[in-house]
Subunit: 380 residues, 2 copies
């Protein structure tokens, strides 16, 4: 039987570890590397699906934990799955719910069986196991599902992380066995292990010995430095098979996307572009721009003069600032549109740079725009 999720490597960049490829899903074949907008509650905040498609989004995320609580996975299943429920015709990926259980909910305890926690909405006691996570995701019906992992803090003790990695591996195997729709959905295993090379190696070994459709790298972008994140990627991605997609979870700044791609990552997601948009912060070719600031009150230029998105083609900083000042949601819609477009367009530039073998030039250009330190570029 052929896996519903496959990866096709097209080309490696000459000077870095970057890969140009294709992610093959039941809802289309998409060029990688990609950035995936997050639609936590079955809606990418303020965005219509047609707008996401128009800006070039191909795979979007939804959060299992949130949808499990509201409206509940049986209802989504009854609707015909997430694609039909939310009117999104291309790829969908769901996380396992684990990250939210460990961050949002009040946790009661982890056992071999799973994790008991209180809902962050009403305090109701709930239980999530590797099997339960996969069954919820089977009901939600995304193309790509995550297996349940524990996501401990980056600076957790070695002994704790070692036991946690071993348990996450056992959970991964249980999740694979619980999978009810192997013809239409693929599961990714999640490599954990904090900052420890031997634990990351153990985790990768455990998971690659199982037949996952792809591999996620978890436990990063949770408080460690960018140098530490890059370092972990440098020794982790080489442990993953070339013929499977690699997904770095929860990363969405321009510099981290480029540095992740350079280290062999194919897929990224993050709430950052829509979250900061709600505070009026925009990602631009001139670095970050806080359009709410008073200095833009009479500025009739677009958010980013070098951007061709809907917001930049039609509206001024002054108008968007006004909308944000008076709490008109159309303002947040415009900043969200712009930020998502920025990252999706950046990924398209990155793919072109891999094709042209000049990704480090693009990196230098973007880092200069943001005033970032240029070091760490070549340690991939």
């Amino acid at each position: 039987m052929e896996q519903p999720i496959r990866y096709h490597l097209i080309k490696k960049e000459k000077h870095t570890g970057a890969r140009l490829g294709e992610l093959i899903t039941p809802h289309g074949t998409f060029p990688t590397p990609i950035f995936m907008p997050v639609g936590t509650q079955a809606s990418v905040k303020t965005m219509a699906p047609e707008e996401l498609q128009e800006m070039g989004a191909t795979v979007i995320l939804a959060n299992t934990y949130h949808l499990w609580l509201r409206p509940g996975s049986p209802l989504v299943k009854e609707a015909g799955g997430l694609h039909q429920f939310m009117n999104w015709k291309q790829g969908i990926l769901t996380d396992s719910g684990g990250f939210q259980v460990f961050s949002l909910a009040k946790r009661r305890g982890i056992t071999e069986e799973g994790v008991t926690f209180k809902s962050h909405l009403d305090g109701r006691l709930m239980f999530l196991s590797p099997e339960k996570a996969i069954h919820i995701e089977n009901d939600l019906g995304p193309d790509i599902m995550m297996s349940l992992d524990e996501c401990p803090p980056f600076f957790e003790s070695y002994d704790y992380l070692k036991a946690s990695v071993a348990r996450t591996s056992r959970w991964a195997q249980r999740g694979l066995q619980a999978h009810r729709n192997p013809n239409s959905q693929g599961i990714f295993g999640i490599v954990q292990g904090g900052g420890y090379e031997d634990l990351r190696r153990q985790s990768a070994q455990d998971l690659t010995s199982l037949d996952f459709a792809g591999y996620s790298i978890g436990g990063l972008s949770v408080g460690e430095s960018k140098a530490e994140m890059n370092h972990v990627l440098e020794f982790t991605t080489p442990l993953l098979p070339e013929n499977k997609p690699r997904y770095l979870m929860g990363v969405g700044t321009a510099d981290s996307l480029i540095d992740g791609v350079i280290r062999g990552i194919d897929m990224f997601d993050c709430v950052l572009p829509t979250r900061i948009a709600r505070n009026g912060t925009c990602m631009t070719s001139q670095g970050r721009l806080v359009v709410k600031n008073a200095q833009y009150a009479h500025d009739f230029t677009p958010l980013d003069p070098n951007c061709n998105c809907y917001a930049c083609r039609n509206y001024s900083r002054a108008y968007i600032r006004h909308l944000l000042q008076v709490n008109e949601t159309f303002g947040i819609h415009l900043t969200s549109y712009h930020n998502l477009y920025y990252l999706i367009h950046l990924m398209s530039q990155i793919r072109q740079a891999i094709q042209d073998d000049n990704l480090l030039d693009l990196r230098a250009q973007v880092f200069e725009q943001y005033g970032f330190n240029q070091k760490n570029a070549k340690n991939f």
Copy 2:
């Protein structure tokens, strides 16, 4: 010099006072009767201009009071006027700010000169005169401006209303004289007089003796019954010239639109469709539907099975209910889109019914959908 705003009467309906016509503005010629969506703060809540155009909106409203406070009319002027500021290429109408001064703000006192009040935002003492209102509207740059009127409660005493009507007439004349852009903007006078026929006649006489581009009927939909409103329209619209547009301010229920058209009204506006949308209430061919209700949790049919709007073509009641439950603004966007489409589509049906001389049939059909009492249909 030709008025920038003109009205062309095409046809009267055979059995009622309804008029099919055209409103000619510097930003296009639009068939009437029309419903005008309200964009209080230079944005029709949650809607992109392209979406409004796609659903058939032709003229939209903006509120002078709100824009005067934020971002301030000089800034809008600096932006090139409202059309350019908010990226709306068709007609714009602004009110005078009077209604908000008399409803939102804390009023300090009315004199012959104007009205002193405290801003509802920061308590700042402000002053609005007929000249000031027109100058602010000149800065905002809409196609159609309202002259400053006093909008007293419907059940105010006869003596008060009589004095108020006289003052509103004097204010109207002062506003006309203060107008700085007579080549590109037209002013409407506002007929007041509560429920008193002689006061409405006096007001209409005063205003029609001046060269206004059109006439508004104010002081309705402020607490009186529908029968009372219809009664006032019946004796007021015949007092207005046939060759000018007639605008009933603040009215936006399906039944009142039809009953207004039957009595010779050409233009309507109301925040109702977007306001009730935010509470999940939808106007449908089956009457009002509160999609937030639990009964729709598993309902995978559209908001209105007979509607062809974007929301109804693509999303279910269950999905929209979910979005509203979890506070995703895309849910409010969909209900707002639907309600605006409903009223704009209703106006298009009304225009067809005037053309076909069967408006009373359409009235009976809509009133049955909403379970309304059918009386008052023929007292026009």
